[in-house]
Symmetry: C2
Subunit: 228 residues, 2 copies
């Protein structure tokens, strides 16, 4: 069975890819990187290296024109600065709601894109590394189990029952993802998560904080370097 | 209230636009044309003329790279010919299933794109001209009421409850759309539906047949010219 895996180059999607390759073999897996106009190309380079490491078919698509009208702080054209706080702190300060790094319906678009590509290649599943930590407090509503369920229904119906979503981590936290990844010997040194595009990861943005904690929770240390 | 209307340049989406303008006024409406790599630019030119006629904000996006892997007969790079039969005939010959002009999850992608654009502009609805004739027999599964319902749920959840889909014709046939459009004095002479890109519409492809019949059912004649 053929599957398409959304691969951003971060630790969630890389672990997702590792699981898909372990289950179906590299020949059955298409890794798909989707640009959305982010501030830097560190993730893109990481994704390419990871796809090469796993020896899977790799496709890159760019959706940045769609997000040209948004001022989200992750976007290259945005005037907003990235906030250097954990998601939990950002939500507790602003009340429940999306964080400043939420890109309008980005993950819905990525899943729709992956569904179209999957159907074109006769792949029957789109693998998606969304997890519970990102969905908490509605930080990223497009990572929640409710969203994944609805989007799966839309994709399954809209493709004439040919494509489904598989989101292995939708009820896990990031620590559990890293636990599974360490077992699968995922090359986390190749991944990139930081929202900033400096030489090494900043260590203080929302995703850096989450990532470091996920390794600590597993009694180990993140193999990448940090500014702080 | 601001709304985004998916405008292909055909009669369904043009009637949808007319309804939105009648309800909210031209200042509150954004018309969005989404290219997907179709064989010709007749629809795009029609959409631009229609947006101008209604004096609404108009944006154009191109998703063709996403469909580069599909061989659907509507696509410019495809080696497949467009079939000159009604949808009903195509389905009765092949059994239930998508028609040769089904583009993989195209409408899911268009709705996701419109949701992202709508949220960026703080518009709270995406208007979508899907109708029952296109969904019949699973010809276009991404036009069915079940699909629209699931996609609406996905968009509503994924945007943090900021954007919904409104599909006024999802339970109507094309004749009913034309009936409403004639009442609203929609300039159907500006629209383009034909899958071929000739000087005038062919009159024999699936969408030309459906369109001509919808006018006949209203006791009138389609104002555009046909080869046959």
């Amino acid at each position: 069975m053929k599957v398409a895996v959304l691969l951003s180059g971060g630790i969630d999607s890389t672990t997702c890819l590792a699981l898909a390759v372990a289950k179906y073999g590299a020949n059955e897996v298409i890794a798909l990187n989707i640009g959305y106009g982010q501030k830097h190309d560190k993730e893109l380079k990481a994704a390419a290296n990871i796809a090469k490491y796993y020896n899977v078919k790799y496709e890159v698509l760019d959706l940045s024109p769609i997000f040209a009208f948004s001022n989200c702080s992750l976007l290259k054209h945005s005037s907003e600065e990235i906030i250097h706080k954990s998601y939990a702190e950002q939500i507790s300060e602003s009340g429940e709601g999306t964080v400043s790094t939420y890109v309008p319906f980005r993950n819905g678009l990525m899943l729709s894109t992956a569904a179209a590509v999957a159907q074109s290649f006769k792949a029957s599943e789109v693998w998606y590394g969304a997890h519970a930590d990102d969905a908490a407090g509605q930080a990223y509503p497009d990572c929640s189990p409710e969203f994944v369920k609805a989007m799966n229904e839309a994709i399954y119906t809209g493709t004439g029952k040919e494509v489904k979503i598989y989101a292995p981590f939708v009820n896990c936290n990031k620590a559990e993802i890293v636990r599974q990844g360490l077992e699968l010997k995922v090359p986390y040194e190749l991944t990139w998560s930081c929202y900033e595009g400096h030489e090494v990861a900043c260590g203080t943005c929302g995703t850096c904080i989450d990532r470091k904690n996920a390794f600590i929770a597993n009694g180990t240390v993140d193999p990448i370097s940090y500014e702080q």
